[in-house]
């Protein structure tokens, strides 16, 4: 599974993270090339979210390294990684519930537009921030819901807002943790269409349970089982990989019948 890529945007080497006796990430290595949509799949408990959290800095690995855009970010806190262009969306919606949709996105834009130790002028009147927010909301189809409080948005809209917030940080790499989680059929289809658009502009790491979506979108797929990479390759290679089929015994139908 050695990568032939010369200059990956993200390089993970020999990452280990254990909780008690359980190795949630077990000597994991992974490369993500600029411009690709790299999906990470695996059965429940394979350590996908643990991996994402280590990539964004919410969780520190026990050993191993994470390099992003040629820089070692292994020990960098999450707010600094965000500044370098690493954005994430959360599996369980993680927004500012008592703010409007526009405020949520504007705050993300603000974090990447100069400093925020400004105490006097009204932030809501800063046109560049509001414009950036509106643009990101339009992107995900939420333009009309800009002034609605997050707690009043539907689940599907909140998932889209997660994406808009991530986009507003102008990321080089977007880490999406199950963006389809809990979405209905039409909402899922909309999300897939949206991701198809986004992948033209930004490198994406996608963790997803929806196999149909994964095989429709991914350039490359990495399969995790018990924190280890058991296979990595293009969708066709993964579909025909025996080890992957075994790991997904319960879900085998899902792997083989779609795409």
């Amino acid at each position: 599974m050695a990568s032939s890529l010369a200059d990956p945007l993200l390089r993970v080497e020999n990452l280990v993270r254990s909780f008690g006796g359980i190795k949630a990430t077990d000597n994991l290595s992974l490369d993500v090339a600029p411009g690709e949509l790299h999906a990470i799949i695996g059965p429940n408990g394979a350590g996908k979210t643990t991996l994402i959290s280590q990539l964004t800095g919410q969780l520190m690995p026990n050993s191993g390294t994470v390099q992003f855009a040629g820089r070692d970010v292994t020990r960098l806190p999450s707010y600094q990684r965000s500044r370098l262009g690493l954005a994430r969306s959360f599996q369980i919606t993680c927004l500012l519930p008592d703010f409007t949709a526009a405020d949520n996105v504007a705050l993300a834009a603000q974090a990447h537009d100069g400093h925020s130790f400004r105490f006097w002028g009204s932030a809501r009147k800063e046109k560049p921030l509001r414009d950036a927010a509106q643009a990101a909301l339009t992107r995900v189809g939420l333009a009309k819901r800009a002034d609605v409080r997050v707690s009043e948005l539907s689940h599907g809209e909140q998932r889209e807002l997660e994406l808009a917030v991530a986009l507003a940080t102008k990321p080089k790499l977007l880490l999406l943790d199950e963006p389809m989680a809990g979405l209905g059929v039409t909402e899922s289809a909309r999300m897939v269409a949206l991701l198809k658009e986004l992948r033209k502009e930004v490198t994406i790491v996608l963790v997803e349970h929806d196999m149909e979506a994964v095989f429709a979108l991914a350039d490359r797929i990495t399969v995790l089982v018990y924190g280890r990479v058991i296979a990595s390759g293009d969708p066709d290679a993964i579909r025909n990989n025996e080890e992957v089929k075994r790991a997904y015994l319960g879900d085998q139908h899902a792997v083989t019948s779609h795409g």
Partner: protein, 315 residues
Amino acid sequence: MKFQINVRNVVVALTVLGLLLLPVYSTLSGNAFILTLFTRFVIFALAAASLNLIMGYGGMMSFGHAAYLGIGGYAVGILAFEGIGSGFIQWPIALAASALYALVIGALSLRTRGVYFIMITLAFAQMAYYIASGMSRYGGDDGLTIYKRSTFGGLIDLSNRVQFYYLCLGCLFGGIYLIWRIINSRFGMVVQGVRSNEQRMQAIGYHANRYRLVCFVISGTICGLAGALLANNTDFISPATMYWTRSGELMVMVVFGGMGSLFGPVLGTIVFLLLEELLSQFTEYWALIMGPLLLLIVLFARGGIMGLLGRFGRG
């Protein structure tokens, strides 16, 4: 800002008007007591408003806010005792000392969250209380009498009841205006964002604790000003000013008025202190009535008085 006519805003406007006109009433009616009473209310309202900045907007439940009242007060008292009577020296030192204390306490206690944060801020305030009790040169337990109020080179006479009242009121309105600007600024948006969801704010690139700390220091500094006013008002400062029950009262004033509403702490303070004043005339067990009242507010009116008024307006 759009100004709508609703119950809440009418009450706020009437309160502001009432506070502005109070000295007129006091002079015409010859009731000097009410002015003295409200001077104290206004000073505590400033302290409560400063606490509201971190509690209501920043989500930081500081249980040691009375320490700043003491620090601001002692700065004035000690300097006066040592023969430095100018407010131009006393007050900046009162503010700087409060800011410094907030910086140190904040840097240490903001590593914790929730109950631990409440406990650690309480512990530090109690420490300040015992330090003040131990300062035998400055009266120790008995406190320090301030024989001469701060002087401002003839600009304003703090011994004049009306002038002093207007100074306190000016500080209160100025403080609230400052807080209003802050909460709507970039900085204030970040602080409120961190209260709402810290993990999210970190993920989009904010070093949450840095903003919390600065907010904590601003709040402490404003409360230090209230302390300087309080010492001048009572001509006296003692460790009791910093006692933990005083911190608790400040929290109650904020909750009474409505956490996270700009003007709530002012109403909360006035209602709380007025009730205390009235009830204590009837019975020394006034806390027996105040306690259940607070309970009712917490249980049925989460937004405090401001929340109730808001609901009233809609219904």
